[in-house]
């Protein structure tokens, strides 16, 4: 399950936001290491900095200081264009609100991720297996408004992994789902981790959801507390 070189390696990571003349210290020196193939849950109260960590790891915002690398790629020195490149192929996102494009069908939502990454050939057999695993094979021609929350989140997972990212980032993936769908989505994430060795970092409030991970990391006031 684990590899010698960590998938995520973070040392003394700080992030400061400037709101007018006020400085907001969202991360105050985070140290974290996640091995390749590991499934880690990050939990903590609101304002603990877990979303900021998610955004930095996803290349959506640059860190202020410290070091952070994903699969050996240093995020601190990355330009905006390099972070965009990281999002194309290096990381996949699953959001609480699914974030599917409403004008596109499930298939098109997945295809656009491939298109952005510059993959235009046929999808891999492995991906077709994942679609089966996700149980959305019969719903692929529907637009998000015709899909249930659980189905939308499965499509979002399929979209997140279609380009074989090194890291799958999930931000409260069960936050909008009922308990039955929550469990189904969490099982899917665990399956992806176990069957494909997909490294997953999941942000969650929910202790039950966190229990699906190999390891739970708790955050408070911009630091990891255990």
């Amino acid at each position: 399950m684990t590899d010698e070189r960590p998938m995520i390696e973070i040392h003394g990571l700080k992030k400061v936001f400037h709101t007018g003349e006020v400085e907001v210290h969202a991360l105050r020196g985070v140290d974290l290491s996640v091995a390749k193939g590991e499934f880690v849950a990050v939990s903590g109260p609101s304002g603990s900095g877990k979303s900021t960590l998610f955004h930095i790891l996803g290349g959506l915002t640059p860190p202020t200081s410290g070091s952070v690398s994903i699969a050996g790629r240093d995020l601190l020195s990355m330009t905006e264009a390099e972070r965009t490149e990281l999002r194309k192929n290096g990381v996949g996102f699953v959001f609480q609100k699914y974030n599917l494009l409403p004008t596109l069908t499930a298939t098109e939502n997945i295809e656009i991720a491939r298109d952005i990454a510059g993959h235009h050939g046929p999808r891999s057999a492995q991906f077709e297996e994942i679609v089966k695993l996700l149980g959305i094979g019969g719903r692929m021609d529907h637009k998000p408004r015709a899909l249930s929350g659980g189905e939308q989140q499965r499509v979002a997972i399929a979209r997140a992994i279609v380009n074989d990212p090194a890291l799958l980032l999930a931000d409260e993936p069960t936050g909008n789902l009922d308990s039955e769908n929550s469990e189904a989505v969490l099982k899917i994430l665990r399956d992806l981790n176990e069957r494909l060795g997909q490294t997953i970092l999941m942000i969650t409030h929910d202790a039950e959801a966190a229990s699906f991970a190999h390891r739970i990391v708790r955050m408070k006031d911009g630091r990891i507390v255990n």
Binding site: L60, R87, P102, I112
Partner: protein, 362 residues
């Protein structure tokens, strides 16, 4: 995705396409009117059957009015020149609204042109007789026997409705028109027919020597001069309309795309999270704008047929709108330029959006 985005807001897409279409229609109607009117003038000049045209000094291509004070004497002089078989003077008087009435000597004109084709009625019988062509009669609902007040101090009696394409839409007897406008002995244009086409150049030279300072052309030279390129006023109008069309296209697309970008803030955030570059996002909006412009151009071309119908139905009878397919690509290209310009600002705004802020937008 581009088409799906446009389909997602069908009313807005439809209205935007129609507004872009209006600018396309504006261009095509302007060009069509210029060409329609000039083609008509050219056709009527050729319909005279003349080989050579003599016009008053200082007259312009389209301005036939302005008379030769001793025109009839000049006609007599021209008639005596070698190889001239027929020479006839016509008097053209403006009746306002860019329209004119033409006075002819029917016998001379028949000898030159082969005569009118009467659809209703027949030749002049009374001094107040007026022939109208079919398009004028249609637009004013006139028939042989109808009366027509042109506001020039004479209520005319329609003696005939004739086939269009000869000189003018309104044709009276020259001497009656000369009396009415105190222009005894005057003519506006002299039409000359030559015995053989091969003699036209020599007769032209002869007449130019005879009538120094008078613009004298072969009918083909005149027809070639009656084109948009040679009439600076029409060229100027066309350029102004093209400018307006670019601005309209620009504003419509700017507004549409700006609204679309605001509305799709979250979707742009999603695309950015998926790794879409600013160029990719700009490209989507550009393609949407171009697709809108294509739809608008098609709508504009179709609407041109509507404007042609309206011009025929409600505009003054001398106005004719031609359908100008050779201008369709230009008009579409112009709307495309407006659309692309209009998409630049919203596109850049979208491309520069912060992904995290965009994703938290509801």
């Amino acid at each position: 995705m581009v088409w799906e985005n446009l389909k997602h807001r069908p009313v807005r897409t439809f209205l935007s396409a129609i507004f872009i279409g209006i600018s396309v229609t504006l261009i095509l109607t302007m060009v069509g009117l210029s060409r329609g009117v000039l083609d008509d003038v050219r056709e009527r000049a050729r319909g005279s059957g003349a080989d050579i045209v003599i016009r008053p000094p200082n007259s312009t291509v389209l301005a036939f009015s302005g008379n030769m004070p001793h025109g009839e004497k000049i006609v007599d002089l021209v008639r005596q020149r070698p190889h001239v078989t027929v020479a006839t003077g016509v008097l053209i008087e403006s009746i306002g609204n860019f329209q004119s009435i033409t006075g002819i000597n029917l016998d001379e004109f028949n000898a030159m042109s082969g005569g009118f084709h009467y659809l209703e009625g027949g030749p002049f019988q009374r001094p107040d007789d007026l022939m109208v062509d079919e398009s004028y009669a249609d637009s004013k609902n006139l028939h042989a026997g109808s009366s027509l007040d042109l506001g020039n101090g004479q209520v005319w009696h329609i003696c005939a409705v004739v086939e269009p394409g000869k000189l003018s839409q309104l044709i009276a007897q020259r001497n009656r028109l000369q009396d009415l406008y105190s222009a005894t002995g005057e003519v506006s244009v002299i039409y000359v027919k030559v015995d053989q086409k091969t003699n036209v150049p020599s007769v032209l030279d002869d007449l130019m020597n005879l009538l120094d300072g008078y613009p004298i052309y072969t009918i083909e030279q005149l027809a070639n001069m009656i084109s948009v390129d040679n009439i600076s006023l029409v060229k100027g109008f066309t350029r102004v309309v093209i400018g307006i069309a670019v601005v309209v296209g620009f504003l419509v697309v700017l507004l549409t795309m700006y609204t679309a970008v605001l509305e799709r803030t979250r979707e742009i955030g999603i695309l950015k999270a998926l790794g879409a570059s600013p160029g990719y996002i700009l490209g989507i909006l550009m393609r949407e704008s171009i697709l809108l412009a294509v739809c608008g151009s098609i709508a504009g071309i179709v609407m041109t047929y509507g404007s042609q119908f309206l011009v025929h139905k409600f505009a003054p009878p001398f106005l004719r709108q031609a359908i100008v397919p050779d201008w369709w690509p230009y008009a579409s290209g112009i709307s495309m330029i407006g659309a692309v310009l209009g998409a630049i600002y919203p596109g850049l705004k979208a491309a520069r959006q912060d992904a995290i802020e965009a994703l938290s937008y509801d």
